[in-house]
């Protein structure tokens, strides 16, 4: 029983990290209808920003942790907005295939430049937040895991509030529904899209730091696999749907953890893709998504 509960907790923590990345994917897809392949590498950049921030911050202090998180979020927001402005905006309105290829190119560029600059060997992430273990009835919870879950939940709540209670959030939803109509009622699409990218990237950056706190070994290719899994989570929950992304991430995190502890642990990566294919075949709108008919 203890083992089961422990695995449950592990799955929750993993799911929380996937959720943070998945939210960025789902928001950008909702607004622009394309998969931002470079998102997983923004996640990686966030971890590296946290790494460098951590060199100058006192270890094991909560304030240090908050500063590193804020720095990563800000840095990634800027990066996301920059990428959109320079690379994606000129291709808006063209065939989506071109943007997709560009996104892949951007993703590879970040990864391989990272390898060139930082080297491919993993670096140890500094322990910015005090690492403590709490033991409850044989269950072991690490401080880092708890922080990941709490911060992820807080950020998701903040995102929901931003999207449903603020003006820019309403604008985002309008653009997601119908960009041309949104323009007609006076919404500045460029600003909204930049904001969406910035927000999504900030969340990815936060995810990067939290991930690195939990698994303190960072390298330029660290975002590839979590990014793909997070995308699967977003599709599972319904792309464009924020609570859906969180739900999808949770389910994926749990499933993966239980498979990991079983006989088929080495098929773990394949399972995520199998889920993707299954969902796209049998319920393409995702668990919480709605079917949208494509109008011509």
């Amino acid at each position: 029983m203890t083992e089961f509960l422990q695995q449950l907790l592990n799955g929750l923590s993993l799911g929380a990290i996937y959720a943070l990345i998945a939210l960025g994917y789902t928001m950008v897809y909702g607004v622009l209808r394309f998969i931002n392949f470079a998102h997983s590498d923004v996640f990686m950049v966030g971890a590296f920003i946290g790494y460098f921030a951590g060199q100058h911050l006192p270890h094991d202090s909560v304030l240090g942790g908050i500063v590193a998180l804020a720095a990563a979020m800000a840095g990634c927001a800027v990066l996301g907005i920059l990428i959109e402005r320079v690379v994606y905006r000129p291709l808006r309105g063209g065939p989506t295939l071109n943007v997709l290829i560009t996104a892949i190119g951007m993703s590879l560029f970040l990864e391989y430049t990272g390898q060139l600059v930082f080297g491919a060997t993993p670096r140890p992430f500094p322990s910015i937040i005090p690492a403590r273990m709490i033991s409850v009835h044989g269950l072991v919870i690490s401080m880092n895991q708890l922080i990941v879950i709490i911060v992820a939940v807080l950020l998701m709540v903040a995102l929901e509030l931003a999207v449903y209670r603020t003006k820019i959030g309403t604008a985002m939803r309008a653009v997601a529904l119908n960009p041309r109509a949104a323009q007609l009622v006076g919404i500045n699409i460029d600003v909204v899209i930049s904001f969406t990218f910035g927000l999504g990237s900030a969340l990815a950056g936060a995810g990067g730091v939290l991930y690195a706190l939990n698994y303190p070994s960072i390298d330029p290719l660290m975002g590839v696999v979590p990014g793909l899994k997070a995308f699967v989570a977003a599709v599972l929950g319904g792309v464009g749907n924020i609570p859906g992304a969180a739900l999808g991430a949770l389910i994926l995190g749990m499933t993966e953890t239980f498979i990991d502890g079983s006989r088929w642990s080495t098929y773990k990566d394949a399972i995520a893709f199998a889920i993707l294919i299954a969902i796209l075949l049998f319920r393409p709108a995702g668990l919480l998504g709605r079917y949208t008919t494509e109008k011509v």
């Binding site: 203890t2 083992e3 422990q6 695995q7 592990n10 993993l14 390898q115 080297g119 491919a120 060997t121 993993p122 670096r123 140890p124 322990s127 690492a131 273990m133 033991s135 072991v140 690490s142 991930y211 698994y215 303190p216 070994s217 290719l221 660290m222 696999v225 953890t257 239980f258 498979i259 990991d260 502890g261 642990s265 080495t266 773990k268 990566d269």
Partner: protein, 390 residues
Amino acid sequence: MAAATQFSMFRTLRHTLAAVMTAAAVTAAGRAQEAVKIGEYASLTGKEAAFGQSSHKGTLLAIEELNAKGGVLGRQIELVTDDNQSKQGESATIVKKLISREKVVAILGEVASMRSLEAAPICQAYRVPMISPSSTYPKVTEIGNYIFRVCFTDRFQGHVLAKVGKDTLRIRRVALLTSVSSAYSVGLAAYFKEQFAADGGQVVIEQKYTEGSKDFDAQLTAIKAAGVEGIFVPGYYTEAALICRQARELGITVPLFGGDGWEAPELVDIGGAAVEGCYYTTHYSPQVDSPVVKAFVAKFQARYKGETPDAMAALGYDSAGVMVDAIRRAGSTDGPAIRAALEATQSYEGVTGRTAMDRQRNASKAAFVIMVKDGHFTFVQSISPQSIAP
């Protein structure tokens, strides 16, 4: 009139002398330019750059030292190195290029068994002797009689680690956490299991992971529930460090141990306090109290800005040394001659111990058991092949 004739005679003499001297100089220069070329293929960039760079530094140091002492067969040695970026498929092309374009007489490489297996058939087909510095997978030297290695094999290492488990850690019930992504890990696990069971121990639970994974909580939780006295992790330091951390975080207090893939400074950087008291085996230790090792460490530190050589560097150094020694004994740069000389290597004293080639062209060497103490790799003991012979 006499003065003019004398003058022209003198001029002719001068010209002849100049011509003879020039010819002599050119021949001498020509001979000096004919360097003995040795090729090296290594992973200088990419995922395994740490190992490749280390090995290359050792090899380069050896070649520079040998050149300072006059080279071999009266000629200087030129080391031609090519980078395979840790990728599949590159080593084959590089080795072909080294053999056919650069006309190397011998090949050194590689650290990773998978890439050695890729290049070995080519060296064998072109009859160019190849020495792998640190590929431990047994099959590498089985490719052909031109393929050698200067390190021990995983068969030996697995047996040594079983002994470490039984005698040093004194455990009977062990968990196995293997990487399925590398032949090295799978092979080492199998040999360990074989010997451990033969010695009366029991592998209670086996878990697997893939390289690149960061999360081992699931596997470790299952291991914790099985109640073992130790965990054997025959993988690379990149995952081993995280595994130790997460094990400690989950409240697992039993020791973890592994093989030569653990050796890298990042093991302590990433693992931190979690790797204290953990053991691993490797090919050499800079702390061994021998003049040869101490001299090597000093030279390496002088050449490479204070960096202490690790096992990969030491083996790279010895692989070059053994190869050049064989060329010297062969008396020529002819492939078959060097090969025969390599096969006859019985007592080359290197920094990783005495290298003697056995019938399978593997070096019969001692394994060094290392423990992590106060964040440093501390030498515990060396276990020779004779002490665990059946």
